[in-house]
Structures are given as C-alpha cells and as structure tokens.
C-alpha cells in the first residue's frame, strides 16, 4: 500500500516540532535537553576532568567518552536498567559522531564525559541524544569547530521520509531507518547507520533530505544556546 499521507499529517521532508533548552542540570559543566515530537533526550557534560582508568590517559589530547541509555519508563514495555548491547553501540557511535568537531588537543591526560539519557522515546532517540549532547558540549565551553546536528531519515513503505516517529517505524509494509549526523558548516557526515532496504539512489535522496533538515535543526540548537546566555544578560 503506497504511503501517500504521513500518519501525523507532516510533509515527507518535514521534521517534527522541535525544542531545545540549555543549562538544565546546574551541577554539570554543560547540559541540554532536545525534544523532537514526543522523543525527549537530556545530556550532561563533565570535564575536562581526570580520566579513569588511568591507562586511558592520553598525552596527545583529551579522551571523549559517551554513555547513551533509555530510562526504564521511556518506552512502553519497561526497559531493564543497565546497558544493553544496543545502548552500548549507540554510546560508541554517539562519541564517534561528536569527535570530529571537538578539539581536545589542549586537554592532554584529561577526559570529557558525555551522558545522554532518553526520558521519553518515540523513535529518533539517538539523533535527539546527539543534538542534546552537542549543545551540552558547547554549553560546557568545549573548543569546537561546529555543533553536530543529527536526524533520522528513511523509507516508510514506498516513500522517503525525514524524522520517522514510532508509528512510521512500525508501518505494516516495513520501514528503513537511516540515522545520520553532520557538521552543517562543512557538510561532513559523522554518523551514518541504516537498517532496512533502500537502493543507492534512494539513499542519496534520503541523506540529502536529512542534510536539509539538519540546517533547520541546527537553528533550534543555536537559538537554545544563545537564549541561555542572553537570558543571563537580562
């Protein structure tokens, strides 16, 4: 059955309503919340600080570590607390996606820790997490050449779409999920995963749609960052 109209009425290239907030956790060196539709991610950054275990200390620069996880009640069927194979993998690709813009060369022997938790999940959680993490890193005053912006694109039934929600991921004709992240300034793509079924042509089309969406999403990130510090000036 062709997917002519999206379940929630969005255009195929349209992202969900998005919201960002910076400085949500006073104790952290940097923190942020990012919401897309009903998916909510929070992120906190600690560092530069001591790296443990000590053998991971690197004289050439700081060590970036990320943790991503779902809160048990963020999903309909309770997620058992503690890392899963899925969350461990996402933690790794989150760190890999953020590292290209981070300049930790001045942080020899030190570490930067990024913690991302999903408080409410409705698909696109790793993208929301990366968006929140990038804002939190900037809030922590980290030297960065750009923010990183992330989105999931894919295919629902026969249509290429941007920012799939859970209903679309569960479409009866199948859905392909392609999470990606990028530096919108340089066009460098720093996260790319896919599972499903798409042709080379469809992938190019989907990624190009994702790149356009990232430009819009970055505005939300930038506004949230500026709002925190402009509010402080009021």
């Amino acid at each position: 059955m062709p997917y002519d109209k999206r379940f929630d009425g969005r255009k195929f290239e349209e992202v969900r309503e998005m919201e960002g907030k910076v400085g949500i956790i006073p104790r952290a060196d940097g923190s942020a919340m990012f919401r897309t539709g009903k998916t909510i991610a929070i992120a906190a950054v600690y560092g530069p600080r001591k790296v443990l275990p000590a053998f991971m200390q690197n004289p050439k620069g700081g060590v970036l570590k990320c943790v991503y996880d779902l809160l048990s009640f963020s999903v309909t069927e309770r997620k058992r607390p503690g890392p899963s194979r899925r969350s461990t993998e996402i933690s790794k690709v989150t760190a890999d996606s953020l590292a290209p813009v981070l300049d930790l060369t001045k942080f020899s022997y030190l570490g930067v820790d990024v913690y991302v938790y999903i408080t409410q999940a409705d698909a696109g959680t790793r993208a929301a997490g990366i968006n929140a993490a990038a804002m939190a890193l900037a809030d922590a005053g980290m030297p960065m050449k750009d923010l990183i912006t992330s989105i999931a694109v894919g295919k629902v039934s026969d249509k290429i779409v941007v920012d799939l929600d859970k209903d679309e991921e569960d479409h009866e004709d199948g859905a392909t999920d392609l999470p990606m992240a990028m530096s919108t300034r340089t066009g460098e793509i720093t996260l790319l995963q896919m599972d499903g079924n798409m042709t080379q042509k469809e992938i190019k089309e989907a990624v190009e749609m994702g790149m356009k969406a990232c430009i819009e999403i970055k505005k939300v990130q930038v506004e949230a960052l500026k709002a925190k510090y402009t509010e402080a000036g009021k």
């Binding site: 956790i25 006073p26 104790r27 952290a28 923190s31 009903k38 909510i40 929070i42 992120a43 906190a44 600690y46 600080r49 443990l52 943790v67 809160l71 048990s72 009640f73 963020s74 999903v75 309909t76 069927e77 309770r78 607390p81 503690g82 890392p83 820790d113 913690y115 938790y117 408080t119 409410q120 999940a121």
Partner: protein
C-alpha cells in the same frame, strides 16, 4: 567548610538562612515526565531534582502473598547529576536509596496491594517504580521518595486483554492508594539536627536519620546512615522534626 557550618549552627542559624526544620523552597512536583510510563513525576527540592516513573506488568504472585500485587523499587544515581556519580551497576549507596524509598511506601500500606490481585494465586499486577536522579544539590533521599510517591499518585493501570498487558494503552483506573507516605531526612552536623541538608551541609553531616511518615503521623520506616552514632534523645527529636517537616510537602502533592 564543616567548621564554618558548625559555627553557624551553634549560633542558631543555617548557612542558607533556613530554620532547622525547614525544607528548601520551592518544593515543586510536576507530572507526566514520560507518556510511555503508567505514571511519572519530577520533583525539585531547591536545586535537587529527581524523576520517577511507574511501569506495570502482570505475573504470578509469590506463594506467601497469593492475593496481593507486588511492588518493586529501583534507583539509579545518573552520572548526569553529579561529578561524583559514575556509570555502572548500582553501588551500595544507590541500592540503599532505593530500599529506603521502598520501605517507606511498602510498610506504610500506601498501596492497596490486595486490590492489585487479578486472580488469587494466579495473576497479580506488578508495580515497578524506577527513580533517576537528575541534579544532586543535597538530600536525594527525600526528593526520590517524594518523586516515587508522586509518580504512583499519577499512575493508571494499562489495558489488560486475555491476561496480556496492551503496551501503550492506558485505562482510567488509578493505582489504588490509601494515602501518601512522605520521607524527611534529618542530618546530624556536629551536635545539631537539621532537615533537608543542602549539598554543603550533607558533606559536613556526621549522620542522618530518614523517617517515613504517613498521613496519621505514624512512622513506618526509618534508616540511620553515617558513621557517627545518635543518642535516644537525638533520635526522638529527629522523629519529631520529621513529622512536622513533612506537613508542607503533603500540601505540594495535592
């Protein structure tokens, strides 16, 4: 800082100007942190912030409580909330936190577990409350306990069809509660006792006593922590302080 805090207390004051038996202000409770949870809540006491969520499931009852539902309480001190909390399996402090909250709710009879029996000996509701700390500015215990109670107050049963839970579909039936059990922790710093320690006071505290109080003013659970002892008079005084201190918190939940 400990010497300073003790000097201020000896002068009859607290470092932030509060009364000894006073919670920080504001104490805020909001609901619906996650629309996937059967119930959820966010609690802020000053800058300390905790969220809690309720998930429900069905299962066979334990043989010694064949006509009752079950309660399970978990806690994670998320590494987002303090530079001192690191990722990994829960340590003793985290498990103690969950168990203090668990006993306050369980022993007070706050949840009507008999009403959570579907078929005696065969099928009962399991309530799982998970607590996550977001920002630690002192006294996570009372914030966690309040968040767990608020999440339970907010909770409804999911739909059940042919003994199977329909994930994501909720009924309008509330989790049966009798009243709220509210926890107040009294911290002993030097020779003085204070309610709701902030982060500096908590770091300076020698001991603490958590007291869970039900609506009638009865005490249902206690836990002493810290490696300095307390006298019977101090314990008596602490319980009295806790019973008084929870009264305004009961109003916040309404």
């Amino acid at each position: 800082m400990k010497k300073y805090i003790e000097a201020v207390l000896l002068n009859g004051e607290r470092i932030d100007g509060r009364k000894f038996e006073e919670f920080r202000k504001p104490v805020e409770v909001s609901y619906d942190v996650s629309n996937k949870a059967e119930g959820s809540a966010r609690v802020k006491i000053g800058k300390t912030e905790v969220i809690a969520g309720v998930k429900m499931d069905v299962g066979t009852p334990y043989p010694d409580s064949a006509d009752r539902g079950n309660l399970m309480m978990g806690a994670e001190r998320l590494p987002v909330s303090s530079p001192e909390f690191l990722p990994g399996p829960p340590n003793a402090e985290t498990i103690e936190l969950a168990r203090i909250v668990d006993r306050g709710i369980r022993e007070s009879g706050m949840i009507d577990l008999k009403k959570l029996c579907i078929r005696e000996g065969e099928l009962v509701w399991n309530i799982i409350v998970d607590i996550y700390t977001i920002n630690d500015d002192g006294n996570l215990i009372d914030a966690s306990a309040l968040a767990a109670v608020a999440a339970l107050k907010n909770a409804v049963l999911p739909e059940l069809v042919n003994d199977r839970v329909q994930w994501g579909k909720f009924t309008k039936t509330k989790v049966p509660l009798n009243f709220e059990a509210i926890n107040a922790t009294v911290y002993k710093i030097g020779k003085e006792l204070v309610i709701d320690a902030n982060r500096d006071e908590e770091a300076a505290a020698d001991a603490r006593l958590s007291v869970s109080v039900s609506e009638t003013g009865s005490v249902h659970a206690m836990q002493k922590g810290g490696r300095i002892g307390m006298s019977i008079d101090e314990i008596d005084k602490a319980i009295g302080m806790a019973i008084e201190a929870v009264k305004p918190l009961r109003e916040v939940l309404k």
